[in-house]
């Protein structure tokens, strides 16, 4: 395909290189420097998509991120939905097609890299247009640390799309010199293709750098595709320019309808004529430049339609060029099918539209004024005010650490922008106590022509008979003037409500062209000032950001840290099946060939109950508590007495919140008079340390005690079962392992080949058991020595599932599984672990609250399914039948729920633990548990189902 609309020369494209791309199945060509939009326009194509609800043809209506029309889906090099043709840089081999409003996510995983960089600066300048460049130069010249970010492929901002001159030379020469000077300052970071998309507190700005998107298939694999810059600036200068605003009229969405400034950009930056025959509809002077530039480039400009009765001082300039200027006139509608063929033009007097006529054209340029891009200011919670003259919202206050300059602050002439950027930067430096530079020359801009006052015109009264239903306010949402009228008619007054009722501003472009229009039209319909209507809240991101970019490297295995014990490789080699416990990877079971989890767990359980098993319990939280007042702190935080614990002994303890509910449990080893080792649950380790430090610091700062996490300083291997004494005795012959010499709930220090080892008689299974503690550097070696010593007894490594079965058979609760923050120690049947001697401890007072005395509280009990077959699903509800065997009428009262449920080798049947209302008074009763639509009867029992007498713990 040829590019019939490409100009013979000019533009910032590299005409020496031709790129080939495919759009909607057709092959086109373009040049480096093109966007997909400019290349399509060069081939004569305006329509790229159809609209989301109405299926109307939509085309390229602007030149950058404010375009509401040109949504495309990229297929190659990697599928990506919902991009704007105007912001996709062209590269060889690009394959894309237009979208009917919604895109399609890639069905394959994105293998590109994404990353993030933190960067701190004195001054961050957003936008490298005239104001941003002078601001950055001033800041850089002062020696400050500066970052300049700009979303385009090159610096220059509005200068890229115009013919401005500075210092009697093309303005882009000054831009090039400014960029070169900035590159020479060692403390300046200058990033193009980088969109500041979020502005937050205290000078924190997020920016997305598109690093390789423009390279297409030539993108190097080792470079991240996109990068999120987390910029923290002592001062932010927002120089983000302004978006041109359309005027709403009937059928204003027809392809070929475009913002006037965008047409200039396509002409000057990309060397593209957006049409052959143009009508320019404006309410202000800026569109005259577009009319004259297009005329000079050979476009037949049929008319400039100026809504202002007095027109513009630039009328004569047009007429000298042979361009007809119709003052006091408006475009009321367009004609055409997939492209505009005529603009209907009519006189416009005192808000009334007269009889019109059609002017043939293939391009209708529109300018309704300029909306300062105040997004970043507003995101940082800056207040806006409506400016009557501009017909737009401007910053209404000074923000700490953030200032706005140039067109974003309503300064619309070049000389003004250059000076304003410098002024704002100097003020920012002064506020930072940095001396502004002495030598800080501004380029000389031509004396600006004083423009005639713009007319604020949101919409042209609809004389087409469509009653506003084809007068589009938000093209991306197919939302019209009629929709706003319906919203107002429905009684909505707040612009936030109208936004949600009409969906205006909620699409991909977040209302860049439609937001202020919606405020203006709403105010008009309500008969209130626009200031009273205001705008909807600006929220990040300014332009869409892919989740992949936000995720960066934090995905897949790096999404959350993985914690493994020093035995992890051994577990992997042993064929363990892992489960996640918090961030830990724990072996769940060790299946032998042909075993499923059920058979493996039954085998592991049988080994621990009849022979000997071994568990890697290293993930248990461990806290070293030291200090003269260590025992005092523990007495205040545990429900039971810890100060009476003898050095060398171990005690089980429960911690409660002030509300009396159990928050963690575990064993406590007294290492010395002033030193304890606390064992917490795997998942509760961090929380318990937080809890202890909070009380020690905020309530009892007088206590001389320190708490240190030592979870990763110790491996813990429970050796469990009737033969565990044989194993420990064989490996540690120097330790007298007889029950009298080494009783239950005591610990001993010993050594293995010079490696210190601590042994403790602690049991989480009810069996005779020894916990072996060792420095993780020696973990694998000690583990293997234990296996070797246990081989004659068939020592069997077991995982968390078996650990759960063994503890549940004994009625030992897992905090967080069998409890849920509403369970007291008494509910668990652990009144024995609650001190009656201590006058107070955290939680004690709450036990006396009436609600905690209720005999119908949910209590932990055992459940035995009567059919001896069903494993009740954990979480199942428990119900009670009427005496006649019928279920009560709905809503069926719930007695509680199943908290733990397993198959038991020891009991030769499944069993469960459950929290049941008044459970202990129901022992012997039958309750019912709905499982897959049937009611399974289950007998309520005590919570300890295996060895309730505790006969096994001493072997």
């Amino acid at each position: 395909m040829t590019s019939p609309f490409r100009t013979a020369e000019g533009g910032r494209i590299d005409r020496g290189t031709t790129l080939e791309f495919t759009f909607d199945g057709q092959t086109h060509t373009g040049h480096p420097g093109d966007t997909l939009a400019s290349a399509l326009l060069a081939s004569g194509r305006h329509q790229v998509a159809t609209s989301v609800k109405l299926g109307r043809p939509r085309g390229i209506a602007a030149a950058w991120a404010e375009d509401p029309g040109g949504l495309v889906q990229i297929e190659e090099p990697f599928p990506e939905p919902m991009l704007l043709a105007t912001t996709v840089e062209l590269h060889d081999g690009l394959v894309a097609h237009g979208l009917p409003g919604q895109g399609r996510l890639a069905e394959i995983s994105d293998s590109a890299r994404y990353d993030a960089v933190h960067h701190h600066v004195d001054v961050l300048v957003v936008g490298a247009g005239p104001a941003g460049l002078t601001a950055a130069l001033t800041a850089a010249r002062s020696g400050a640390r500066v970052a300049l970010v700009d979303e385009q492929s090159e610096a220059g901002g509005s200068l890229l799309g115009g013919t401005d001159r500075l210092d009697d030379a093309p303005a882009l020469e000054w831009v090039a010199a400014a960029v070169a000077e900035l590159a020479g300052h060692p403390e300046v970071l200058h990033l193009q293709r980088t969109t500041a998309f979020g502005s937050y507190d205290d000078g924190f700005v997020l920016a997305l750098e598109r690093r390789t998107d423009h390279l297409g298939t030539a993108a190097p694999r080792h470079v991240s595709r996109q990068r999120v810059w987390r910029l923290r600036a002592r001062s932010v200068v927002v120089a983000t320019g302004a978006h041109e605003r359309p005027v709403v009229f009937a059928d204003n969405d027809r392809p070929g309808t475009m913002l006037a400034g965008a047409a200039r950009t396509f002409l000057h930056r990309y060397g593209v004529l957006p049409g052959r025959q143009a009508v320019v509809f404006t309410t202000n002077d800026s569109a005259y430049d577009a009319a004259l530039d297009l005329h000079r480039a050979g476009v037949a400009v049929e008319a400039v339609v100026d809504a202002r009765p007095a027109g513009s001082p630039r009328r004569e300039e047009c007429e000298r060029a042979g361009i007809r200027v119709l003052s006091g006139a408006v475009v009321t509608a367009t004609q055409g099918v997939e492209r505009v063929t005529h603009a209907l033009v009519a006189p416009f007097v005192d808000g009334q539209v007269g009889a019109g006529s059609a002017i043939a054209c293939d391009l209708l340029l529109v300018s309704g004024g300029w909306n300062p891009a105040v997004h970043l200011f507003s995101q940082a919670r800056g207040r806006l005010r409506y400016d009557e003259a501009l017909g737009a919202f401007l910053p209404a206050e000074e923000l700490d650490r953030l200032s706005v300059t140039g067109a974003a602050a309503g300064v619309l002439d070049l000389a003004g922008c250059l000076a304003d950027g410098q002024r704002v930067a100097r003020a920012a430096l002064t506020a930072l106590a940095v001396a502004p530079p002495g030598e800080d020359r501004l380029p000389t801009a031509p004396e600006p022509v004083v423009p005639a006052a713009p007319l604020v015109l949101w919409r042209v009264p609809d004389t087409s008979g469509a009653d506003g239903n084809t007068s589009f306010v938000d093209l991306q949402r197919d939302a019209t003037v009629a929709d706003i009228a319906r919203a107002v008619g429905a009684g909505l007054r707040s612009i936030e409500h109208i936004k949600r009722y009409t969906t205006i501003g909620t699409a991909h472009d977040q209302g860049k062209t439609s937001g202020v229009l919606a405020s203006g039209i709403t105010a008009e319909l309500l008969g209130v000032p626009v200031q009273a209507t205001g705008t909807t809240t600006f929220r990040p991101p300014y332009t869409p950001v892919a989740f992949a970019a936000l995720a960066g490297r934090d995905r897949g295995r790096l999404f959350d840290p993985e914690r493994v014990t020093s035995l992890h490789d051994w577990h992997v080699a042993a064929g363990a099946v892992f489960e996640d416990v918090g961030q830990w990877k724990r072996p769940r079971h060790y299946p032998r060939p042909g075993e499923d989890m059920e058979t493996a767990v039954l085998r592991e359980c049988a080994a621990a109950r009849t022979g000997v098993g071994i568990l890697d319990g290293s993930t248990l939280g461990k806290i070293d508590v030291q200090g003269p007042d260590a025992a005092v702190l523990l007495d205040r935080l545990y429900t039971n007495m810890m100060s009476s614990l003898k050095v060398g002994s171990v005690r089980y303890g429960v911690m409660c919140g002030v509300d009396g509910m159990v928050i963690d449990d575990g064993t406590v080893l007294r290492l010395a008079e002033d030193r304890f080792l606390l064992l917490t649950t795997t998942g509760g380790a961090a929380k318990v340390l937080d809890w202890m430090e909070e009380w020690a610091q905020t309530e009892w700062p007088d206590l001389r005690v320190h708490c240190t996490s030592v979870t990763e300083q110790w491996n813990t291997f429970p050796v469990v079962g009737p033969r565990s004494r044989d194993v420990i005795g064989a490996l540690f012959p120097q330790v007298d392992v007889a029950n009298e010499a080494f009783p239950f709930m005591t610990w001993r220090d010993t050594a293995l080949d010079g490696v210190p080892v601590r042994l403790a008689r602690i049991s989480f299974s009810g069996e005779l058991a020894f916990e072996v503690y060792v420095n993780p550097w020696y973990g694998v070696a000690v583990w293997e020595r234990l296996l070797e010593a246990g081989r004659p007894y068939g020592i069997t490594p077991y995982g968390t599932e078996t650990m759960h079965v063994l503890r549940a058979e004994k009625g030992y609760p897992i905090i967080g599984q069998d409890t849920d923050g509403t369970v007291t120690p008494h509910d668990l049947g652990m009144a024995w672990a609650v001190s009656k001697k201590k006058p107070d401890f955290v939680g004690k007072r709450s036990f006396a609250r009436q609600a905690n005395q209720d005999p119908l509280r949910k209590q932990l009990v055992g459940l035995l399914p009567v059919d001896r077959r069903t494993v009740l699903p954990e979480g199942s509800q428990i119900v009670e039948l009427h005496p006649d065997g019928q279920l009560p009428p709905p809503p069926v009262p719930m007695l509680g729920h199943v908290t733990s449920s397993y198959r038991s080798a020891e009991l030769a049947r499944p069993f469960a633990l459950a929290l049941v209302k008044g459970g202990r008074s129901r022992i012997g009763d039958t309750v019912h548990v709905p499982v897959n639509g049937t009611l399974v009867p289950a007998e309520v029992t005590g919570s300890v189902l295996v060895d309730p007498e505790g006969a096994r713990r001493d072997g």
């Binding site: 937050y200 507190d201 205290d202 924190f204 509300d659 430090e693 909070e694 309530e699 007072r845």
Partner: protein
């Protein structure tokens, strides 16, 4: 993301901190002697102030110290932060009652 001034470490990113709720809710001197209602107020009731609010914060991913702060709940801005051992009374609130518990 705000910068929060840790009285020990200086300004640090908000994600390093944990919120600890209203400040100056001392543990009752003798819990056994307060009524159920008074105890419930200690356990469950907190102010929901619009405007300046005295709060506790912890620099949990930093020095792990707790400190007091006065923050405006309408603007999120911190007005001041104070170490717990700061002898000067904490702004907006009466000096914290000395709390002790059974030992």
């Amino acid at each position: 993301m705000q910068l929060i001034e840790c009285p020990w470490c200086g300004p640090r990113e908000e994600v390093e901190f944990h919120y600890g709720g209203q400040a100056h809710v001392p543990y009752p001197d003798a819990p056994a002697e307060v009524s159920d209602e008074e105890w419930a107020h200690y356990v469950f009731f907190r102010d929901n102030t619009k405007g300046r609010f005295a709060e506790r914060w912890c620099h949990s991913a930093g020095c792990r110290r707790w400190f007091n702060a006065v923050r405006d709940t309408t603007t999120y801005r911190f007005e001041r932060v104070q170490r717990l051992d700061d002898p000067e009374p904490h702004a907006t609130e009466p000096a914290r009652a000395r709390r002790s518990t059974a030992s």
